[in-house]
């Protein structure tokens, strides 16, 4: 049998399986409802079994699409638009999420994966709630499959079959971009699990002590993926877009940043509920909002509404579906929330305004304000345009002015919060503990004002706060170790290890905070102390910037698998290392693409972008020296390691005791 016909059939098999997956997901969503009304509790088990089937079917569909990409089957329209025969194999696979239809498919694929894992994970731990959780997930799967199969179907055929495909968007032909969307989606979709738990808790009146520990894990996992996705996106933008920055407050970036902000608030306030039995309703509210923002993020980016409100109207069916889906999810979830959120009144009281729980509330206040501001800045121009036709732009300068002060307050809260005990703080003790870190912070501010070039006020303040936070982390850790050494007479290394491993949740969190401090320093360094030059250089010319000297050696022509490039070569005279910025023109694409040349050390990046030929053998070259950019990526790695440590800890023992104690009287 010719390979073509096999490939043709595999696509149809995948297409068929996708329809089947939608139907099974419908069963999955209906099973507990039917079981409830028919009083046949065993029927509910269908949703558990269904989750495995849905994942298997969706996987067959996805593999069918990937097969079509790998074999360059251009009878599939989506393949023809997003791939061509010259595309390297690696990108052919990644092209699955290169466009709208495939991205949504990846989304639903990840959703079914999470659903199956929850089904497997919960079969022992929370079997009686599992069908409802999976049913909520099932409805989401149905909603997404409806959009995919009826309005943006990646399995659609094209006739006549083109000889070759168009191309994958060249911006996406980069390793950073290959992993960025799946990570982001693992984060977005990950928040659907806490969402399903929260809905189930409201519907079945599940006691909060019982589900909060479960939600915490899932929320942390989702948060970790989202953080990774955002950082990968920044990293990609940094070396790919060629303007020396990594974050532009672009609506697409904001779309991923909003769930991150609320998700961060969530992972903090979950702790309050876990430790102090407070904020139940608020946590459910946060879970619902975070997931809604994940949906909003997906749709904002995928509907094309961002580039122009009118792009939305190009395909009215799709736009209407997305709006309807969002409306249904929001009304149903918030409706259930309003009706049921008060099912538990047994909240503990706050003993003092100066306590950790109170600081967590302020953390939530700040994150909520941050998120709402970003939401407004992103959606307001769209709403204004749609309603009155007036066009305004809310760009990076605005967000920097508004958001940086909020972040500074958050760093302050972050550095003080872990020192303040639960319930009630001893003001005297707190004062002595804060003394040294405070002096270090002030010294840092003074040193910056004296020794470094004058910058915007946020620079010294941010560095002062970051060092204050760092000093707090160090003194708190060394205090714990000292205590352990005195009590147990352990050697230093052992004491360190035992302290960290003995309270993984806490020290995992502290490592994450450490990573945030490192990132903050990186942001200040690269944001405020950047040097840039835009010059015309002929071969042999030397440029001097921020103590670095670069010699332009000229350009050479290169040929990639599916692009032509001009590669500039510049030598860093001090180290002899070479940076090679490129300017690529992909086949079938209009706009030239830049590949920046970066020489990176821990303390600074020399970043070169080749702009355009400016007559003769001269080239316009943008040279940047960005201090401390590496800190940002390093901070990301530190955050992830802290997250792993935190996740490796066991669930709180007290939580398990209350589980049994609370379950008894209920029966």
């Amino acid at each position: 049998m010719p390979a073509n016909i096999l490939s043709l059939n595999l696509v149809e098999l995948g297409h068929f399986c996708a329809y089947l997956a939608m139907l099974v997901a419908l069963v999955q969503g209906l099973a507990p409802i039917v079981a409830h009304y028919l009083k046949q509790p065993r029927l509910a088990q269908l949703s558990v079994n269904g989750s495995v089937a849905v994942f298997a079917l969706t996987t067959i569909g996805g593999l069918g699409l990937i097969h079509a990409f790998v074999t360059s089957n251009f009878s599939v329209e989506y393949v023809a638009v997003n791939s061509n025969t010259l595309l390297p194999m690696f990108y052919k696979v990644a092209a699955l999420w290169g466009g709208h239809e495939g991205s949504l498919y990846l989304w639903v694929w990840v959703l079914t994966l999470y659903t199956m894992i929850v089904g497997w994970h919960g079969r022992r731990q929370y079997p009686e709630h599992l069908p409802v959780i999976l049913a909520v997930q099932g409805w989401l799967v149905v909603g997404f499959f409806g959009l995919i199969l009826f309005l943006s179907n990646p399995f659609d055929r094209l006739f006549p079959i083109p000889a070759d495909g168009h191309d994958l968007n060249p911006l996406l032909q980069d390793p950073g971009m290959v992993f960025h969307p799946p990570m982001l989606y693992l984060g977005y979709v990950g928040f659907s699990v806490p969402f399903a738990f929260a809905m189930t808790a409201l519907i079945t009146r599940w006691r909060s002590e019982l589900w909060i520990g479960l939600i915490r894990r899932w929320a942390l996992i989702a948060w970790g993926f989202l953080t990774t996705g955002i950082l990968l996106g920044g990293w990609w933008a940094y070396y790919e877009l060629g303007w020396g920055g990594y974050w532009a407050w672009d609506p697409v970036e904001n779309a991923s940043f909003m769930p991150w902000l609320l998700g961060t608030a969530l992972v903090h306030s979950i702790t309050v509920q876990d430790r102090r039995r407070m904020l139940h309703a608020w946590n459910i509210f946060l879970v619902i909002s975070t997931f809604s923002l994940s949906l909003l993020g997906t749709f904002l980016v995928r509907s094309g509404v961002l580039s122009s409100v009118h792009a939305f109207a190009v395909d009215p069916g799709r736009g209407a579906y997305i709006l309807a889906f969002m409306t249904i999810v929001l009304t149903v979830s918030f409706g259930i929330f309003m009706a049921r959120a008060r099912y538990q009144q047994a909240e503990e009281a706050i003993t003092s305004l100066l306590s950790r729980e109170s600081l967590f509330v302020w953390n939530n206040v700040m994150f909520t304000v941050a998120c709402a501001s970003v939401l407004l800045g992103t959606l307001y121009p769209l709403a204004l345009d749609a309603l009155s036709g007036q066009k305004i732009t809310v760009g990076a300068p605005y967000f920097n002015i508004v958001m940086v002060p909020i972040f500074l307050v958050l760093i302050l809260l972050m550095s003080v919060g872990p020192l303040v005990p639960w319930r009630k703080a001893n003001l005297e003790r707190l004062r002595t503990r804060l003394l040294w870190p405070l002096l270090i912070g002030v010294a840092a501010v003074v040193a910056m004002l004296v020794f470094l070039r004058p910058v915007h006020w946020t620079g010294p303040v941010a560095v002062g706060l970051a060092l204050f936070a760092l000093a707090n982390l160090i003194t708190e850790f060394s205090r714990a170790i000292r205590q352990r050494r005195i009590q147990l007479n352990e050697p230093l290394g052992r004491a360190c290890l035992k302290t960290v491993l003995g309270n993984r949740r806490h020290y995992g969190g502290m490592i994450v905070h450490f990573g945030i401090v490192i990132i903050a320093l990186g942001l200040v360094g690269s944001g405020l102390f950047r040097s840039e030059l835009s010059v015309n250089m002929a071969p042999g010319d030397v440029v001097e910037i921020a103590g670095e000297r670069l010699r332009f050696e000229g350009v050479t022509a290169l040929r990639g698998p599916n692009y032509d490039a001009i590669q500039g070569r510049l030598v860093l005279l001090d180290s002899g290392r070479m940076v090679t910025p490129e300017r690529r023109r992909y086949m079938r694409q209009e706009m030239p693409m830049t590949e920046s040349g970066i020489d990176s050390t821990l303390l600074r990046d020399v970043y070169v972008a080749l702009a355009e030929a400016s007559g003769g053998d001269k080239w316009a070259v943008h040279v940047y020296v960005n201090p401390l950019v590496r800190f940002i990526w390093t901070g990301g790695v530190i955050i992830l390691s802290g997250l792993f440590l935190s996740l490796s800890g066991r669930r709180r023992a007290r939580g398990n005791e209350t589980t049994e104690a609370a379950a008894q009287p209920a029966k």
């Binding site: 009281a349 302020w362 407004l376 305004i392 605005y398 508004v402």
Partner: protein, 185 residues
Amino acid sequence: MIFMIFLPPMDTDKHRLPSREHAFSPFFNLRSSAFICGSIFLSIFFITVPAFAAPVTEDPLERQMLDIAKDLRCAVCQNQPISESNADLARDMRNIVREQIQAGKSREEIINYFVERYGDYVLLNPPTRGPGAVVWLAPLALLLVVGISGFVFLRHRLKPSLPPVPKLSSEDTARVRAARKQNRA
């Protein structure tokens, strides 16, 4: 100019006097030996001094242009300033900014020029009057509303910790002990 002496003589001579006979003149040998001596001198004492021309400097016009361009939106891009965009329109807009700077226009005049043509849309910072004011005031309003509700919540929940429990009298202690004993039995 004194560094002329360290340049290879062949080049300078050819440049100045291309005639063939001149190559054998004693002047050539003089220059040549001066070059060799000079090079040795240089390599001994100034080994780290690199032998190249002054670095290329940035055209101040370019910096002025970029400074204005970073606040203007490229109208066909997604929220990108014209200083960072590769689009043709952005290049044209950059050229206009350059021309206007050369014509002696001020920053405000140039920005106004673009606002007149493209509207407030072209400003990356929304204007503080009209519909843009909402965006500027909203974060403050949000901070107030959310902050006050956070504070109200905390006050509402606030219950000062219980006063220290008075010690049991000896009578009561005895009673408790008796009750416990009874319970055990």
